[in-house]
């Protein structure tokens, strides 16, 4: 096992430090931000009370436990850091497990005088160490906040380590069940997301006690590893005994994985790889059909993301009304800086922020769609298509069309669910229509990014992926934080997201210009891709 562990450590010498240090630094920054924003008792009381009466805030955050900096930190940070830890474990287990086996590398190792279980045992050891280190660093990150004692910080660290271990156990077991690395990662990520969603449901359905500022969570939180971790209530109650279920799950998963591993053939899996269709459906008879088929799974993910944000709009907009009355001028000020156009009414501000986020999602979905041609080219599949009577501009144009469709679908999904989310409040006619209109207003800006990606693919194929995502990232930073960071006005105006009209529309000029830019980018890409070699 020593050799197997050495091999895995060698392969992970870059990626694991990035995961662990990256997560720790994120936590460190977030702890500081929470302490700065909500350091005072009065602010904590306002925010936590507001959360308790607002199920969608509880869903996105967690369960408060009294008014203290520790309670505030746990409420704000635990559940998403737990998701990061869970993903780290899923990818680790798959990388050294099923993916290795699928690629045939495991066969090389298995032919050496190494015990059959050695690679699995090594993954278990590596994952355990990684979770312990992560827990320790996160404990350190929480300890930097004033008002957090050593016991609290250590309990917090232990909770992250145990939650990570629980997902490690599950992921190792999934690696024995799933037929391919792709499906192992897919199932693993689904489990992590499901754990988060169960916790979100359990928290938002819980019983709030406004007097003590506590929440009795409902049963869904109690069947989720993230829910168990949350209920440790580190930094306040420190209920360490609730670490046991997570630890037990880790042990059960690891033991089951080892037991299956000892009995199965190399390459065999409990779940079979599903067979596909023997013939193509009529929808798959052309390049457009192919692009749609290839982009569909990712698109569903982006659309669900948009839909979730849309669904939260209604209840958050109502919360905004409450916020106005309870008054936290700081938060209002921050929100006004993010949303361009400077609106006074807080509800429309909230709608603006959420729809801006949805616009960014739509842009990302589009960028990913437009970059698919580059992936096809680099992996050698574009060659098969271009040897058929398909002009290369057609490949590019169809890819861009699917990218645009992706953006539209994300926005429409978000807009429709935002409209629906206003129904319970009886505000569908006003707030709902406003939200839906605002979603559509984001589109021309969002679609600039797939245009840039398509142009990059046409002109500088090898650098296109880096360029497209870097420009998108810059767009995000300028769009969300440009005013906040007090960037020069000239730079802020470059971002397409700075030109989104506010509903109701008064000036259609910027929208027309943006739509023209979208079309020109795509047209330039279509023309320019005819000039270059296929490059791998």
């Amino acid at each position: 096992m020593r050799h197997a562990l050495a091999l895995q450590l060698r392969r992970d010498r870059l990626i694991m430090p990035v995961w662990i240090l990256g997560t720790a630094l994120l936590a460190l920054g977030s702890v500081a931000a929470v302490v700065t924003e909500y350091g005072a008792h009065a602010q904590q009381l306002t925010v936590l009370r507001l959360a308790l009466v607002n199920p969608s805030v509880l869903a996105f955050r967690g369960a408060p436990n009294g008014v203290s900096t520790g309670s505030m930190l746990w409420f704000e940070l635990f559940s998403w850091l737990a998701v990061v830890a869970g993903l780290m474990n899923v990818f680790l287990a798959t990388r050294h497990g099923r993916a290795d086996e699928e690629s045939g590398r495991r066969e090389l190792v298995a032919a050496t005088p190494l015990a059959r279980s050695a690679p699995l045992a090594a993954s278990l050891a590596l994952g355990t160490v990684a979770n312990l280190v992560l827990g320790l660093l996160l404990a350190g990150a929480f300890a930097t906040a004033s008002g957090v004692d050593a016991a609290g910080a250590l309990t917090a660290g232990a909770t992250f380590a145990v939650t990570g271990l629980a997902f490690l156990g599950i992921a190792l077991l999934v690696g024995e069940l799933a037929p391919t690395g792709r499906s192992a990662n897919g199932i693993g990520v689904t489990v992590v997301v499901a754990a988060y969603v169960l916790r979100a449901a359990g928290d938002s359905l819980g019983t709030a006690h406004l007097g003590s500022v506590t929440l009795d969570v409902a049963w869904p939180s109690w069947i989720s590893p993230i829910g168990w971790g949350e209920q440790v209530l580190a930094l306040s109650a420190n209920r360490a005994v609730l670490l046991l279920p997570g630890f037990a799950l880790a042990v059960v998963g690891a033991v089951a994985a080892l037991a299956i591993h000892a009995r199965r053939d190399l390459g065999a899996s409990v779940l079979p790889d599903r067979l596909g269709r023997a013939t193509a459906s009529p929808a798959l008879r052309g390049v457009l059909g192919l692009d749609w088929r290839l982009h569909r799974p990712a698109l569903v993910g982006w659309a669900i993301g948009g839909a979730v944000l849309g669904l939260a709009t209604g209840s958050l907009a109502h919360a905004a009304g409450d916020l106005t009355s309870s008054g936290s001028p700081q938060i209002v000020q921050t929100l006004k800086l993010i949303v361009p156009g400077g609106r006074e009414e807080l509800q429309s501000l909230f709608i603006g922020v959420l729809m801006l986020l949805v616009g960014l999602l739509a842009a990302a979905a589009g960028v990913q769609g437009a970059l698919r041609l580059r992936q096809e080219e680099a992996e050698g599949r574009a060659e098969l298509l271009l040897a058929a009577p398909v002009p290369r501009w057609r490949l590019l144009l169809d890819g861009w069309i699917v990218a645009v469709l992706a953006g539209v679908i994300v926005m429409v999904a978000a807009g429709l669910l935002a409209w629906l989310s206003f129904l319970p409040g009886g505000d569908a006619g006003d707030g709902g229509v406003h939200a839906f209109g605002q979603a559509l207003a984001e589109l021309p800006s969002a679609l600039v990014f797939p245009g840039i990606a398509a142009l990059a693919v046409a002109v500088v194929p090898r650098a296109s992926v880096a360029i497209a995502w870097a420009l998108f990232a810059i767009g995000v930073v300028i769009g969300l934080f440009g005013q906040l960071l007090q960037l020069p006005e000239a730079i802020i105006r470059i971002s397409p997201f700075d030109h989104i009209p506010n509903v109701p529309f008064t000036d259609g000029g910027p929208t027309v210009v943006l739509l023209a830019i979208d079309v020109v980018l795509a047209a330039a890409a279509v023309v320019l891709i005819r000039r270059r070699d296929l490059s791998t």
Binding site: G276, A278, T279, A280, R381, L384, P389, D533, L534
Partner: protein
């Protein structure tokens, strides 16, 4: 105009550079309509680059080329209506089944002949329901081969199509090539397996370092195919060395090792049996060895 009628592929002085590497260095190639043409050369000789230029995937930096009488870069789409291609390293869509991939690729050319498709799947023993990611290298090649053969074309281009196939499947491939040739199609078959080319091709072009170093019918090139012989015999080394057609004779552990021109093998064997033979193995030299022997010096000198 006349050559356009008779040559499916014509290239003269093709040049293609990648950075400082000169992948094609004045390459000439002529493939007559209706013939199966072998395109031979060691790895890295420029076979795949030539094919990609002929398919309009790469643009040549010099020389001219025509495929089915058209410019491969400008008229790629028109040419490809009459063309079927199988790359050397077939990459498939991981989540598309083999059957879907075959239908997609033939659909772009106008649709497969259903009966042909069914027969090809059976002959190549391919399960069309498996996902692309689940196929081995050989099976990925089979998917591309079925897609190529399932719709008739005027020109078939194969880039080392059998490198992942077992001998039985190689025979199926050869039968299909003979079928399309009988139907009047032209085939360009790139390979570094000499026996496969000998089975199928009327004419052959040999490339090395981005140039055609030899081109002609296989009969013309018989001088290329020397057989390597290792024998324990009572004949003396000097006696054998003196025979017509014997080259590079060496003594190794009591055995004689030498090469003999294939068309002189009869006389050499007769001489050996007259003297008495206790062991004998004969191996055709690999193409790689032939290149080293015949072209190594000349190409280096001219380069």
């Amino acid at each position: 105009m006349v050559s356009r009628m008779t040559n499916a592929i014509e290239a003269a002085g093709l040049v293609k550079t990648f950075g400082r590497t000169r992948a094609l260095d004045g390459l000439d190639l002529a493939v007559a309509e209706g013939e199966v043409h072998g395109f031979l050369g060691p790895n890295g000789a420029g076979k795949s680059t030539t094919i990609r230029v002929l398919l309009g995937l790469l643009r040549a930096h010099g020389g001219r080329a025509s495929v089915l009488g058209r410019d491969p870069w400008r008229d790629a789409v028109a040419i490809h209506r009459d063309l079927a291609y199988v790359p050397g390293d077939v990459a498939l869509w991981p989540n598309l089944s083999g059957g879907e991939t075959i239908d997609l690729l033939t659909g772009l050319r106008g649709g497969a002949d259903p009966a042909l498709r069914t027969r090809l799947l059976a002959d190549f023993e391919l399960d069309p329901r498996k996902k692309g990611r689940g196929y081995s290298k050989g099976n990925r090649q089979k998917v591309a081969l079925v897609a190529a053969f399932a719709r008739p074309a005027r020109l078939y281009v194969f880039d080392e199509p059998t490198s992942g196939l077992d001998p039985v499947m190689e025979a199926v491939f050869q039968a299909e090539v003979r079928r399309v040739r009988a139907e009047g199609a032209t085939v360009l078959l790139s390979s570094h397996i000499l026996s496969e080319v000998e089975e199928l091709c009327e004419r052959v072009t040999i490339v090395r370092a981005g140039r055609a170093v030899e081109s002609g019918t296989l009969a013309d090139m018989r001088h290329l195919t020397r057989t390597s012989i290792r024998t324990t015999t009572r004949a003396s080394a000097a006696e054998i060395a003196a025979l017509d057609g014997v080259h590079d004779l060496q003594e190794e552990a009591g055995a004689l090792v030498f090469d003999v021109d294939t068309d002189r093998i009869d006389g050499v064997l007769a001489a050996l049996t007259r003297a008495g033979v206790s062991t004998l193995t004969a191996t055709p030299p690999s193409l790689e060895e032939l290149f080293l022997r015949h072209y190594g010096d000349r190409v280096e000198q001219s380069a």
